[in-house]
Each structure stands twice: as structure tokens, then as C-alpha cells.
């Protein structure tokens, strides 16, 4: 497992996100209102919308293109939609955010 330092929490707007370019493709890094951070592939399972530009609320991100809701803990679209996004591990050390470059497999 490879952990990469991403930067600090304050670089991500709360209830929103940023994206990271990686060898595994673009990864969205999302921060919710409780300062929890999630990392998922930056491609909506619907038509590839950039999830890093979505609204984040609780465990959900709302895709900016057609408003699919993606559960960030499950890596799945919320019914009635269906589809998956890859999840990646995040570790917080103080303000510092670390991204694990290996997909979380269930």
C-alpha cells in the first residue's frame, strides 16, 4: 500500500471537494460538514460527472451533472440509481490528509 500526502484539511472546501490526479486516474477528495474526508474515483457511475464538484452532505455526494446521489461509505449510487465508484482509503494525521493508492475492496 502506498500512502500519499495530499495536503491539509483546509484546502478542501467543507461540504465540497477537490480532485487529485493519480496514476489510477482522477480521484475526488470530499469533505463533509463534520470534517470527515472521503476519496472516490472522480467519475460518476452515471455518465462520468466529476464528483469533486458535487454537493457533499453527510455520507452523500450529489453529482453536479444529473444529481445522482453517491453513498461515500458504500461507494454505491443511492436507489433507484445503481452503479459503483471505487473507494480509496484516507488517513488523517492532525490536519494532514493521506491518500492510499489502492482501491478498497469489499
Amino acid at each position: 500500500m502506498e500512502w500519499m500526502a495530499l495536503g491539509t484539511l483546509e484546502e478542501i472546501p467543507a461540504r465540497g471537494g477537490r480532485y487529485v490526479e493519480t496514476p489510477l486516474g482522477e480521484i475526488a477528495v470530499l469533505r463533509n460538514e463534520n470534517d470527515e474526508v472521503f476519496a472516490v474515483s472522480n467519475q460518476c457511475p452515471h455518465r462520468g460527472g466529476p464528483l469533486s464538484e458535487g454537493f457533499v452532505s453527510g455520507k452523500l455526494v450529489f453529482c453536479p451533472l444529473h444529481n445522482w446521489q453517491i453513498d461515500l461509505e458504500k461507494g454505491e449510487a443511492v436507489a433507484p440509481d445503481s452503479g459503483c465508484v471505487k473507494r480509496f482509503p484516507i488517513r488523517m494525521e492532525g490536519e494532514q490528509i493521506w491518500l492510499g493508492l489502492q482501491e478498497i475492496t469489499p
Binding site: 487529485v20 496514476p23 462520468g48 454537493f55 457533499v56 450529489f62 444529481n67 433507484p80
Partner: protein, 814 residues
């Protein structure tokens, strides 16, 4: 409260019920500060929804859920409310009302809305304890208490109220018998065939019927024990409910010497014979007619309020009514003359096994009445045909099947959805076909637009198919679907409506989305994609200076200040005022496009240049090199002011439309709005800039400018309405600012001007900004102030004051 000396005339309302309070609400909408208002109510409650008594009795709903206007509402509007305090006398000479507590209250205008009382059969024993009426909350409370003891309930009168109370008492576990004079129940709404179907359905739910029976005497000494019919037979009863009809409450008016017959007589302005006294509701008799349903009373309330507000424009001309029965699981609709008669023709459909019966009465090829049982889906359409007096000869024989079967011969518009084939795509955004929506509604028991959005995604994105989805709900659910529910919540995060949220933001001075969510106890502390942009907009319009803009509550377009495309790239549309550019500017744009390999350069429909396919990272660079202001083509904001050549060059032109367009655009740029706003200015009535399908369109005429509003050229075309004519550019500018500011402050988020104008009415807009120079001026000033707080977002981003997070947070190389 009463001791303060007030300048305003006093309006006293007698009757704190549905019609009276509706009139007050309508009045407050039009003239919030015209009167000091006092309301007297005989009942101890604030105004509640009488229609919902049956669900309360049946235990399907709580009493509190029926309250239409909580006590705070009265307080908020400075209304003095006296509950449990009926007015006992009116002194018309001194202009006083005397209430039960002995107090005398002066009035300048009086509104009588005393409603009606249950009629009691004039038979011996009708005053015994246990004989009840079914009219108000006290009755429901008494019935609930009695039903707790179980036993036999007898309902005299098998009309709408009788059947509802029977249903309610049955749901409370009593044995219920309905006594009716005629051979079938609900004979005022149903013919015999329909009546028999209904009777069977009610019997299946455990309600018994005794038909063709005349009550002769109510038995009992200390309490009702039973009743005897004119044929000598008797039945036992522990509770007896009398629902044989209603009687307008006119005693007060009569004693004051006002002309009454069955009800209080009023003219088309709802004025009684005393010009200071108005009357609305069930207590009223208008053109010989009394009403017992809310729809006509609400129409009356609107007209009365219009006159109380001194607008003096509307007339009430009587109402055509239709009825529905609110007994869970029984669908019934009836309107007009459903029995037919001489020179009438009938078209009927009966499916006994499915319990479906439909009958339409035609006279000279027009619908004059109808009755639908078991499947009421065509009810609204039928009622519309009836009210409009549409000639139905082209499809008369198929009329009972509804519009679906009409092909193109019928009628256009009203209900296209029902006529579409199952594979027709309803929601273009999410690719949802009609068949799947209807299926979901049926199989998953969906009831509301929100349900449909959640389960099928139809209408969950751009919302332009909302109308079609609502039609499908209406046609699939029939009578159950009520498109104007009590109150529509802003979204799933709250119970409050758009307006309530907005009011709270103004009243409590809530200055950020977070504050709003905390103060109004949002269910999800970070909201959702629906409420965040809406609430952010409401905060910004209410508090242009102090309000905190929350970029994370803006749609991506308004956060990146560019329009996101399907592949995640963006389009850049710089502002080109009025569509007038120069060779130098064009060269610069061309060079920027070339340098950055912009994949496509295109003219937009609004006469601007669009650079498409730009990566987010490149946006700030491109903005810097263009050195032009943002065109706001991505926002719920002022988009473009389209122009034609106008009098400077065009041989027909009578006014300088290009100059006006430029001035308008310069004056209004950076304006955020509930939705996108498009303007146009044409130099003569040939209207080359298509001003009549714009949110606001200006057309030059010899003597000046005509101003049109509420047009739309998108999915649902709407021709704009003429607002007014003015002479000078300055007047156009002021009017434009006033109109758009009114729209900004009043429309719901995501409501375009077209539906907004239709919702609030052109008359109101005219009254506010055309007729009233003061309001026009203050609105325009508020617009100027709001715009003075806005900066050009591209310049802000270029200078580093605004971070749109264009670059990735990090690049991790392979």
C-alpha cells in the same frame, strides 16, 4: 393593543373559519397594511381545515395537522384574534360589533363569514343528549368520546357528510347504519347505478344502509336510545348523527337588518345591502345560489379581498362546482347535471366486475355534467371541458375513455401526457419513459411529485418535465392526486415551504446558509442539492450586503463561473454588451481560442460567442487573456440582452434598440436571480430580436417603447404580456429594474418569469410597478444597491481574490 391610537381603518371579521380567513390572507397579499384587523371566532381554535374533520374522526390524522393558520400567524400579521367569543349583535348606525364578552368593537369595514350550521330534522326528540351534528371540531371531539364506548351509531342522511361520518365512526369501531330517504345514497351526486355501486362498496366496509326511510321520532328520555320511522319500524341507537343538510348562519345579519333569504344577500362584489359590510362563505347567497364547498368560497374570498383592498377590479359571477368523496379507497367524482333529461344525451361506461361506472351528459355537443365512479382519472379534464363549454362533437362517443383515446381530433395542450404512448420519453434529462413512470406510480403506490422524483428520477434534474409528470400523477391516481397540497416543503430536509424559509431569513436576519439550517432545524445539517442553492439565493437577495455567500451552496457553474459540459470541461462566454463587438475584440478572442486550442467556437442563440471544451484548470488563464467581463451565461442570472440593428442602420427601425440593449445590459449585468433571465430589445414592431419570448422584451414604437414581460422561448413557449408603454430609455431602465427586482424578491428559486407572472398575475405586477411610481422607484433602488455589491467574478478570480479551485489539489505522478 387596543389602546394604541391607530391611523388605519379597522376591518372586523366575524367568523374565524375557512372563507373568512382566506379572505384575510388574500387581502394581506394585496394590501398588507391597509387595515387594522380584528377577527371574532365562536370556536376556541385558530382557523383549521374543516374538510379534514373526517380523517381526524377516522383516526387517520391528528387535530393539529388540520390547523391552517396557527396563532403565530395572527400575531405575525398584527391581527387581533378573539376565539371562543362570538359576535352577538351588530350596531350598523354606530358601526360597532358587540361580542359575547360584552365588548363593543368599532369597524370601518365588516366581513361576515359565519358559515353554516347543521340542519336538524324537525322531529320529536331531536334535542336529546346523544343526538349530534357533524360540523366542527367540537362535534368530532364529542363523537370520538362517544365512539370510545362502542355500540350502535345511526346516521340520518346519506349525503357526502353522512357517508363521511359513517366511515369515520366505523373506523372507530362502532356499528354504523345510514338512514336515507331516497332509494340510494348520495342521490345529489349519483344516479341509481352509481349509488348502488357506492352502497355495495360501503357495505363491504361494514356500513349498513336503510333506504327509503323517513324518520318520525327519536326515542329515549335521558339519552337517545333509538328511532322510529314513519312506517312504524324502530332501530336502536347509542349515538345519532344528523347530516340532512346545512343552514347558512344568518341570524346575526338578519337581526342587524341586512337583507337575507336563505343566506345573506350579496352582489357580485360580495357586498351586502350595507356597503360597509361584506360577506363570504357558506352564509352567503349570491344570484340565488348558496354554496357548501370550499372552491367557490375561496373564489368569493378573493373577490371580496380585492374590493376590501380597494383595487375594485374583480367580480364574482358564481361557480360551477364538482364533488369528490373523501372515504379512503372509494373514488367518486360528480359535477353538473349528471342525471340528464330532455334534449340531453348520455355516454356511459359500466364495468361491474371492476366496479367502474362513468357517465357523461352532453347537451348540444357540450359537456353539462358527469359522474365517475371507481375510476375518476378523467374527472379534471371533464370538468375543464364543462367549464370551458368546449365543443366535443369530434370525440363525443369516446369521451368516457378520456383523452388518451382521442387521437389528434380533440383538444390540444391540457393533458398531453395522458395521450402519449408508453414509450414516449417524458424526462429528457434522465431518459425516463412514460410507461416506467406510470408503472412506478401504480406498483409502488407513489403519491407525490417528490415520490416520483425519488423512485424514477423523472423531473429530478432540470424540472422542465414537471408539468407532464404531474399530469401523469393526476391521470394515474385520479381523484387522489392533489397538485396543490396543503403546503409544499422546500425539499426533504425540512417541512417548511420556500416562502416560510424566505420569511424567516428576512424576519430573523439569518445571514448564511448555515444559520438558516441551524435556526430552522434542518434535518440534514448540510442540506441537499435542492435546498442549498435555493437557501443561498434567498439569503443573498434578502441581505445583499451582510449576507454571506456560500460557494459550496452554489451549483458548480456558479462556483466555477463557467458552464460545465457533459465531459467535465467548461464553456466560456464573455460579456459582449448588446451583442455589439469590434474587430479588435474579435481578434483577441480568436487569438485566445487559438492559443489554448479551444475545440469549438460557436455563436450562442443569444448573440454571444462561446468557447467550448475548456479545461477547468485553464479557465483563469483564458479569462485573464480575454480581459472581458463574465457573460454569466452559466448562472441563474442575467444572461444576455439580445438586440436587433435598430434605427441606426435598419431602414424600418424607429428606435435605437442596440443602444438600449447595451444600456440594459450594463445596468443589469451581474444580477443573480431565481432563474436565468434573458432580455431583448427590438427597434420596431417587426421584432427581429424576438422580444416577445423573453423574460423581459422591449419593442420600439414611434412614440417610445413597449415593455413585455414573462415570455419564454424554451421548452414551454409563452408569449410575453404587455406590461406598459414608456417614452424614454431612462424609463425603460427603471421599469426593468423594478420588474426584475420584484421577480427576484418574490419568485421561488428556479421559477422562471413566465410561470411566476402566471402565478401572481400581471395585474398585481402592473399595480406594483406601473401604477405605483414610489414602489417602482424603491424596487429599482434596491436593485441598484444589490448590484453595487456584486463584483465581476472573472476579474476576482484573475486577481486571486476568488479561488475557484481550478487546479487539482495534487498531482501524483506514476
Amino acid at each position: 393593543m387596543h389602546t394604541t391610537v391607530s391611523q388605519n381603518p379597522r376591518l372586523v371579521v366575524v367568523g374565524n373559519g375557512m372563507a373568512g380567513i382566506r379572505a384575510v390572507e388574500e387581502l394581506l397579499k394585496m394590501a398588507p397594511d391597509l387595515y387594522d384587523i380584528s377577527v371574532f371566532g365562536a370556536e376556541p381554535h385558530p382557523n383549521y381545515n374543516r374538510i379534514l374533520l373526517t380523517p381526524v374522526l377516522a383516526g387517520e390524522m391528528a387535530l393539529e395537522e388540520t390547523i391552517l393558520n396557527p396563532l403565530e400567524w395572527y400575531a405575525e400579521h398584527g391581527i387581533q384574534l378573539f376565539t371562543g367569543n362570538p359576535v352577538t349583535r351588530i350596531d350598523r348606525v354606530k358601526r360597532l360589533v358587540i361580542s359575547a364578552d360584552g365588548k363593543a368593537t368599532h369597524y370601518d369595514r365588516l366581513l361576515l363569514a359565519t358559515g353554516a350550521a347543521a340542519a336538524m330534522a324537525p322531529v320529536p326528540g331531536n334535542h336529546l343528549p346523544g343526538v349530534m351534528s357533524y360540523r366542527d371540531m367540537a362535534d368530532v371531539e364529542a363523537l370520538t368520546r362517544s365512539s370510545a364506548l362502542g355500540g350502535q351509531a345511526v346516521v340520518i342522511g346519506g349525503g357526502l357528510l353522512g357517508l363521511e361520518v359513517a366511515h369515520g365512526l366505523r373506523a372507530r369501531g362502532m356499528e354504523v347504519t345510514v338512514i336515507h330517504r331516497r332509494a340510494w345514497p348520495l342521490d345529489k351526486q349519483l344516479d341509481q347505478r352509481g349509488g348502488v355501486l357506492l352502497q355495495k362498496a360501503m357495505e363491504a366496509r361494514g356500513v349498513r344502509f336503510l333506504l327509503g326511510k323517513e324518520t318520525a321520532e327519536i326515542l329515549g328520555s335521558a339519552h337517545v336510545t333509538g328511532l322510529r320511522f314513519s312506517d312504524g319500524t324502530e332501530i336502536p341507537a347509542d349515538v345519532l348523527v344528523m347530516t340532512i343538510g346545512i343552514k347558512p348562519r344568518i341570524e346575526l345579519a338578519q337581526a342587524a337588518g341586512l337583507q337575507c333569504e336563505t343566506g345573506i344577500l350579496v352582489n357580485d362584489t360580495l357586498q351586502t345591502y350595507d356597503p360597509r359590510i361584506y360577506a363570504v362563505g357558506e352564509c352567503v347567497q349570491h344570484r340565488g345560489q348558496t354554496y357548501g364547498l370550499v372552491a367557490p368560497l375561496f373564489e368569493q374570498a378573493k373577490v371580496a379581498a380585492n374590493h376590501l383592498a380597494e383595487y375594485g377590479r374583480m367580480r364574482y359571477q358564481g361557480s360551477v362546482t364538482s364533488t369528490k368523496l373523501k372515504v379512503t379507497g372509494i373514488e367518486l367524482f360528480s359535477a353538473g347535471n349528471f342525471m340528464g333529461g330532455e334534449d340531453c344525451e348520455e355516454v356511459t361506461l359500466l364495468d361491474g366486475s371492476q366496479g367502474v361506472y362513468k357517465k357523461v351528459i352532453l347537451q348540444e355537443n357540450k359537456v353539462v355534467g358527469g359522474l365517475l365512479y371507481g375510476d375518476t382519472s378523467i374527472g379534471p379534464w371533464l370538468f375543464q371541458l364543462m367549464r370551458d363549454g368546449t365543443d366535443v362533437s369530434a370525440f363525443r362517443d369516446n369521451i368516457v375513455f378520456g383523452e388518451t383515446h382521442l387521437g389528434d381530433a380533440g383538444h390540444s395542450g391540457e393533458n398531453q401526457a395522458a395521450r402519449l404512448p408508453d414509450n414516449a420519453e417524458i424526462c429528457g434529462c434522465n431518459g425516463v419513459a412514460k410507461g416506467s413512470i406510470v408503472k412506478a406510480i401504480r406498483e409502488q403506490g407513489l403519491f407525490t411529485l417528490d415520490d416520483v422524483r425519488k423512485c424514477t428520477k423523472a423531473s429530478a434534474s432540470c424540472g422542465s418535465c414537471t408539468g407532464l409528470v404531474e399530469q401523469l400523477l393526476a391521470s394515474t391516481l385520479g381523484g387522489f392526486y392533489d397538485s396543490t397540497p396543503k403546503k409544499k416543503a422546500l425539499c426533504g430536509c425540512t417541512e417548511l415551504s420556500h416562502q416560510e424559509v424566505r420569511d424567516a431569513i428576512v424576519k430573523e436576519k439569518l445571514l448564511s446558509v448555515r444559520q438558516v439550517y441551524a435556526y430552522l432545524e434542518w434535518r440534514h445539517p448540510a442540506g441537499c442539492a435542492t435546498c442549498r442553492p435555493a437557501v443561498n439565493y434567498y439569503v443573498r437577495t434578502a441581505w445583499p450586503m451582510e449576507g454571506l455567500d456560500d460557494p459550496q451552496s452554489r451549483f458548480i457553474n456558479e462556483r466555477a463561473h463557467a458552464n460545465i459540459q457533459k465531459d467535465g470541461t467548461y464553456s466560456v462566454i464573455p460579456r459582449i454588451y448588446g451583442g455589439v463587438t469590434s474587430p479588435a475584440e474579435l481578434k483577441r478572442i480568436a487569438e485566445v481560442a487559438e492559443r489554448h486550442h479551444v475545440p469549438m467556437v460557436k455563436f450562442t442563440g443569444g448573440q454571444r460567442l462561446d468557447l467550448l471544451g475548456v479545461k477547468k484548470e485553464d479557465l483563469p488563464k483564458i479569462w485573464a487573456e480575454l480581459d472581458m467581463p463574465s457573460g454569466h451565461a452559466y448562472g441563474k442570472a442575467l444572461r444576455t440582452v439580445k438586440s436587433c440593428v435598430g434605427s441606426e442602420f435598419c431602414r424600418f427601425g424607429v428606435q435605437d434598440s442596440t443602444r438600449l440593449a447595451i444600456e440594459l445590459e450594463k445596468n443589469l449585468e451581474r444580477m443573480w436571480a431565481p432563474h436565468k433571465v434573458k432580455l431583448a430589445a427590438s427597434g420596431c414592431p417587426r421584432n427581429c430580436a424576438e422580444s416577445t419570448i423573453k423574460d423581459m422584451g422591449i419593442i420600439g414604437v414611434d412614440s417610445g417603447w413597449e415593455i413585455y414581460v414573462g415570455g419564454n422561448g424554451g421548452m414551454k413557449v409563452r408569449a410575453a404580456d404587455l406590461l406598459c408603454k414608456v417614452k424614454t430609455h431612462e424609463e425603460v431602465l427603471e421599469m426593468a429594474k423594478a420588474f426584475l427586482q420584484m421577480y427576484r424578491e418574490d419568485a421561488q428559486y428556479l421559477e422562471r418569469t413566465a410561470p411566476w407572472v402566471e402565478r401572481i398575475g400581471l395585474e398585481k405586477i402592473k399595480a406594483t410597478i406601473v401604477d405605483d411610481a414610489n414602489t417602482r422607484k424603491t424596487l429599482a433602488e434596491r436593485m441598484d444597491f444589490a448590484l453595487s455589491q456584486e463584483k465581476d467574478p472573472w476579474k476576482e478570480a484573475v486577481s486571486g481574490r476568488l479561488d475557484i479551485h481550478a487546479a487539482p489539489m495534487r498531482r501524483i505522478p506514476a
